[in-house]
């Protein structure tokens, strides 16, 4: 009868076989639990790709339509800060990967150290981003809030940028107005990215506390591994944003 799924014995209904405390009862094994949650994280990242995909589509279409406006508006971005931020983020992905490695190796102090470094680098990224946002605020380049087109109607009025890009021609009023769309998409895309960073940093704080308590260095690496995936994903989004917003059409 053992080949039949229909067999029932009430006395075995609540029995449990031996398994580690972090294995949830509906999984057959730790390996199955890891596989399932890991796969779920990949799927979740897929939904994130689709989510950001809407913004990327809008950006690419409008860049095509209003090419001069998008080129000149992108000259307003500070490439130094952008590059610095890219390095910070790539470095944080490295420390995160080292964290995952330490969790696999069951080294608690190494794991906590790497997570704290990742946490600090994440905050550093947001700090640099806020400097860039402040620059935009000061130049009235925030769409919808007293947006000013003067840098594009009359590039000479903006000596800092004009000196680096002396070839930028004044835009006609119609085209200059479309720089606002560029800045909106810039804020929407980097803002959505920053929101993901903030959520990631908050989760990281929680993971540091749990890791300090020794929860992730006993073979239970699911959380660390899955969070690592999320962190690298947020990194990759930036790897696409940086060239699209800062680098292309810059000579």
């Amino acid at each position: 009868m053992s080949d039949s799924p229909a067999v029932m014995h009430a006395e075995t209904a609540d029995s449990h076989h031996e398994h580690p405390a972090y294995q949830r009862h509906h999984f057959e094994s730790v390996a199955q639990q890891f596989d399932a949650t890991n796969f779920a994280m990949w799927l979740f990242l897929l939904t994130e790709v689709m989510f950001f995909g809407g913004l990327f589509t809008a950006y690419l279409i409008m860049r095509n339509w209003y090419y001069p406006a998008f080129v000149e508006a992108s000259h307003q971005l500070n490439i130094g800060w952008g590059t610095a931020n890219t390095s910070v983020l790539i470095l944080s992905s490295f420390t995160m990967a080292m964290g995952v490695y330490n969790a696999h190796m069951r080294r608690k102090s190494g794991l906590v150290f790497c997570l704290i470094l990742t946490f600090i680098l994440g905050l550093g990224f947001l700090g640099i981003k806020s400097i860039e946002y402040t620059e935009k605020y000061e130049k009235h380049h925030i769409p919808g809030f007293h947006y000013s087109m003067s840098s594009f109607l009359n590039p000479a009025s903006d000596p800092e940028v004009h000196n680096s890009y002396p070839d930028d021609k004044p835009l006609g009023l119609d085209m200059a107005r479309h720089t606002e769309l560029y800045f909106f998409l810039y804020f929407a895309m980097t803002g959505m990215h920053a929101l993901h960073m903030i959520i990631g940093i908050a989760i990281l704080g929680y993971l540091i506390v749990r890791a300090q308590a020794g929860d992730f260095t006993t073979g239970h690496i699911t959380y660390i591994e899955n969070f690592g995936l999320y962190w690298h994903f947020v990194d990759i989004i930036w790897i696409f944003l940086f060239p699209l917003l800062y680098l292309i059409s810059r000579h």
Partner: protein
């Protein structure tokens, strides 16, 4: 001892991780919203009884049909079969103890509830009148109704459907019991899998679209605003990129139910199992490449019209494969006419009409004549109500004995199935004629020569209402007074029928092993010899 009697108290339900309890929570909530949406439909039909706009003012009418659409689509049709029957039975069908992510499953229900509360808030606060499609620039510039709270509701409810879809995909990949290969899965699992792909890939695009509409309304950023260089058609593309696949989210799980009932009540393996399984996936894939057929009158180029027309016709192929295969399953089967089977026949007839009229609308020429008329209203109600709702009711009756351990009363439920079928046809068939005669949708008033057909339609809606109230009454009655069902009242082959009714929290006492093909009725007969009495 079963999953319902194991723990008592409200908290044991609200904090449960058990997929079966969450399915029941979903069932109760979607039923509530179904009747709210139904009441709004009643108001619409009542207003349309006479040619003048007399029951309500035109702008009230706009709000009523908008709320009807939003509630029925986002709070009923999308979660209907997957979140209730899928939630309950997918783990059982594949021999698992639960969905892979029980907490995410519960979170998904809470997201649904928050979405529902926001919709109710919208109604109390004065409603929204953009139509369920949020067409820009109407929704971003020209209306002063509650677009923001509705948008938030749909955003949140969208995440509930993302989580459900994600959970199903992970579960079907990683939680199948030994021996349960992909081609031994019941077709219900296949079709829910296909619908889950659509939920996971489509819904995030709707989410970002709603975020953009909200920003457009609050900050005025201009992505959809032509005066600032934006493009309202971009909104249409993004919106229909989700909302067309969404109609397959709404129909695919229903098709899964029909595969189960047709096979069970004709005692035959589903004809062309593999073809039916792959046709679900094909519908999901094609479903992503046809969205622009909603935009034929919105100024897209003739070449896109040509391409999207062609792609739209292609979706008819996998849908027809299903209908043909179900028909061949019936051929030489020993058919019985229990209630789920009656609803399934209703589904096949009405879905076929709905699908074929979809071909008219997919052809760009006829579409330009017929779109924005009652023809389109009739078409999608044939698919959504005649299709999905019939399938939902078929599924509820089919699995009721397993979910509750009690039989529903057979005679009155057969009557309800017939009443629903008659009421449905009387309601929506005249609308095809109204549409071809040129009656536009979304108006509270119409020329007097259309009145007679509208009277038919309203009369039909009344009958339909009775048809929907009956199951609620006798199903609730059967909870206490229904006959005890036993483990497998239909002698069906799925693993869910091989355990006790209602199931244990763990579903199976001994982890099942799948040692036969799906829909193998010979296996079941031999099994009968070995059957062991259930433990109460």
């Amino acid at each position: 001892m079963n999953f319902m009697s194991r723990e008592n108290g409200l908290l044991s339900w609200l904090l449960t991780g058990d997929h079966k309890r969450i399915a029941i929570l979903y069932l109760i909530s979607i039923t509530c919203f179904f009747f709210i949406g139904g009441a709004l439909a009643g108001l619409i039909r009542l207003e349309l009884l006479t040619p003048q706009s007399d029951l309500m003012a035109s702008d009230t009418y706009n709000k009523v049909f908008t709320m009807h659409g939003i509630i029925m689509i986002f709070l009923f049709l999308v979660p209907s079969v997957p979140a209730t029957l899928g939630n309950f039975f997918i783990p059982m069908m594949i021999g698992a103890k639960d969905l892979a992510l029980p907490k995410i499953n519960l979170l998904s229900w809470y997201m649904y509830v928050v979405g529902g509360i926001l919709v109710i808030y919208t109604m109390v606060a004065g409603g929204v009148d953009t139509g369920w499609t949020f067409t820009t620039p109407l929704s971003t510039h020209y209306v002063n109704t509650n677009v923001m709270s509705t948008g938030m509701a749909i955003f949140v409810a969208g995440f509930s459907s993302i989580f459900t879809g994600l959970n199903f995909i992970v579960t079907i990949h990683k939680m199948r019991c030994p021996g349960m290969t992909w081609f031994r899965l019941p077709l219900f699992v296949w079709s829910n899998y296909a619908a889950s792909i659509l939920m996971v890939l489509g819904t995030p695009v709707l989410a970002i679209t709603i975020v953009l509409v909200a920003l457009e309304r609050t900050v005025g950023i201009g992505v959809f605003d032509p005066t600032k260089g934006g493009d309202p058609i971009l909104f249409q593309h993004l919106f229909w990129f989700y909302s067309h696949p969404a109609v397959y989210i709404m129909i695919l799980p229903g098709m899964g139910v029909i595969s189960e009932t047709i096979s069970t009540f004709s005692r035959k393996r589903v004809f062309g199992y593999t073809a039916v399984a792959f046709s679900s996936v094909a519908i999901a894939v094609f479903g992503f490449f046809v969205w622009a057929h909603h935009m034929f009158i919105m100024g897209i180029s003739n070449y896109s019209m040509l391409v999207f027309s062609l792609l739209t016709m292609l979706v008819a192929v996998p849908s027809a494969i299903k209908i043909f295969n179900w028909t061949f399953t019936l051929y030489k089967g020993s058919i019985t006419f229990e209630t789920p089977m009656l609803y399934s026949f209703g589904f096949m007839g009405l879905f076929t009409i709905g699908g074929l009229t979809g071909v008219f609308l997919g052809a760009s020429g006829t579409d330009i004549h017929l779109t924005e008329t009652y023809f389109i209203v009739a078409h999608f109600h044939f698919v959504m109500v005649g299709g999905m709702l019939m399938a939902f009711l078929a599924g509820i009756h089919f699995w009721w004995p397993k979910m509750t351990g009690r039989m529903y009363p057979e005679k009155i439920s057969q009557l309800a199935a017939v009443v629903t079928f008659i009421g449905f046809n009387l309601t929506f068939f005249p609308q095809f004629i109204l549409g071809t005669l040129g009656m536009p949708r979304r108006y509270a008033a119409y020329p007097p020569e259309f009145q007679i057909l509208n009277v038919f339609s309203t009369a039909g809606a009344t009958i339909l209402g009775v048809g929907y109230l009956l199951p609620v009454i006798y199903l609730v009655w059967s909870l206490k007074y229904g006959e005890i069902a036993g483990n497998n009242p239909w002698q069906a082959t799925g693993l869910e029928w091989q355990t006790q009714s209602p199931p244990l929290t763990e579903n199976f006492v001994i982890n099942p092993v799948m040692d036969h093909e799906a829909y193998d009725y010979d296996w079941l007969e031999n099994q009968g010899v070995k059957e062991v009495a259930s433990v109460g």
